[in-house]
Amino acid sequence: MLHLYRVPLLVFGLALLGLLLLYQGLGELKPRADWQWMDVVGEGGTALMATIWLLQILSSRPRGRVTALLGLGLAGVALGGMADCLDEFFRLQAGANWDNWLESALGPLGMLTLTVGLYFWRQEQFSLNEQLLKRERLFRDHRVFDRITQLANAEYLQQQVALERAARPQAPCSVILLDIDRFHAINRAYGHGEGDRLLQAISHLLLLNLGNDDLLCRYAGDRFAILLPGTDHATAGRIASHLRSVVGQLAWHTRQQGIRLHLGARVVSAVMAGDVVTQLAALNAELEPAMPLQAQAS
């Protein structure tokens, strides 16, 4: 995202250069023996680190008030450190105190701006947490999120079931699996891009139909898993059939041909007890069509 900040970064670069020219023009170079290396490393290091933080912040955030404040703050800290550091190389005329002003204004002002930025960043984070609530439940690990639906995967589901049961061993904790009917046929007929769009739509639809404590995961492929803390078997069954009917009522139109697809889903649910992996395997097996008799006999 750095390309969004070409102009501000250019201004920052020019400011660094301007600072150098200012010291060079108005001061005289100290003899090498007078250079205080400890100070150079300390002050120059601050400037360098602040610049790295600035680049990391800008490369990872969209534009906005929070980014502007964080960026300005870090730029101020970096420029202050730079002025401090240049001080070690150049002797200014006696009586000139603009450099003191520069050092003591830039650094603290930068830190103040940074602090204000962090305050707003915290507020922004609260509102993002609210949006992510049904997707991640109080434990953040960006590696488990699926690229298409932005939902966590089966591994995260298993961790969450374990955490939930450890936290509230008395309360029942249910899991629903929901599998889209003939999803592979939609992929074949309308392309995998269309399949991806449908998965996104269904994940939004399911999120809208869940409570605040519930967690929606993409188990794998076209199979979703829903963790319902504090929910008994009967309630989970009701929620499962509600979710199935919600998917059935979605009037989905393909993008290219505008064809209305009639969707359906199969659902199964269970209260988690005993080994999570075994129980999830059994739930998955329940979703499969029954084996023909001959195969069962063998």
Binding site: R143, R147, E288, A295, S298
Partner: protein, 341 residues
Amino acid sequence: MLADCYSRDTPLLPAMHQPALLSSLAARRDMASDMLLRGTGLDALALSEGRAAVSPAQLLAMLANLAKQDGQRDVAFELGQQWLPGHYGTISLALLQAPNLAEALSLLITHQDQLCPLLGPRLQVEGGELLLYWTDSVGVAALMPFLVELHMTAVSALCRWLADEPLPWRYCFNRTPPRNLAQHQVHLGSHLQFGCQLDAMVLDSQWLHQPWPRSNPAAYAMLKQQLLRQGRPQYSLVQVLYDRLHAQIGNPPTLEEAATLLATSPATLKRHLAKHGTHFQALLDLVRTHESLRLMQYHGYGQEELAQYFGFHDARNFRRSFKRWTGMAASLPFSLAGAPW
């Protein structure tokens, strides 16, 4: 004949076949094309214009690049869903019109150079069961588990589509169970067994001749004629040698005899096998492993009989050799009665 075989480096695949499938999947995953083609020596522009032909080794490198970027470990399964019948010209059209599983599998095996050049499928029908197992054709090394997932998903998804119902396949994997089974469960089903001595899919053989609703027999016959006119399909050297050894497994040829059969010199044969990540003895051991598993599974052979069949002095000798071939004790690859499914 060695000259008729394809190798790792034969430019076998037109750019619009499997390579195009990989490119579009990479694009859907926001993966840059230079990332996909890293280490292949292929030119992105030539590939996108359909001018390049791709060798098995290059296809393998592209797949390895995809696998490296695959945080969710689902890329093999997603590719598998699209791999067959594919858009590989006449052969894909013929697969699409296949009247039943038996015909589809026969096309897959005969035209593996176009459909699955990296892993060779082998079919065995015995004791009321069909067993489709996969062996390395070009030295796929560490990518084997990934390719097994891909090919098994491809065949399962093809059958589910053409039969208009999922077939109750059971799967055996020559590997330890993965950390998470979710992808296997959703894309293949729950009848999974790990730690087997071969990578195989098993199905009741009654499914072989169940008619498939999508087929048009007249079109299928014409497409098969057209395939015949395309000329003889190619096979990898490893697969050809496997067939030779398998045909005479009771009294297998030596390296020198095998070289003569393939109209080449022993040194050249050795060099070619090394290029494909194997050697003569390893291949012979592999064929003997598969054959002993078949005899144990379907003909009730014990170790005494197997030792005799393969010309060992005694059962103890055979047991030791089998352990060396597979790293496991000689036992049934998948149990029939009391199976986990």
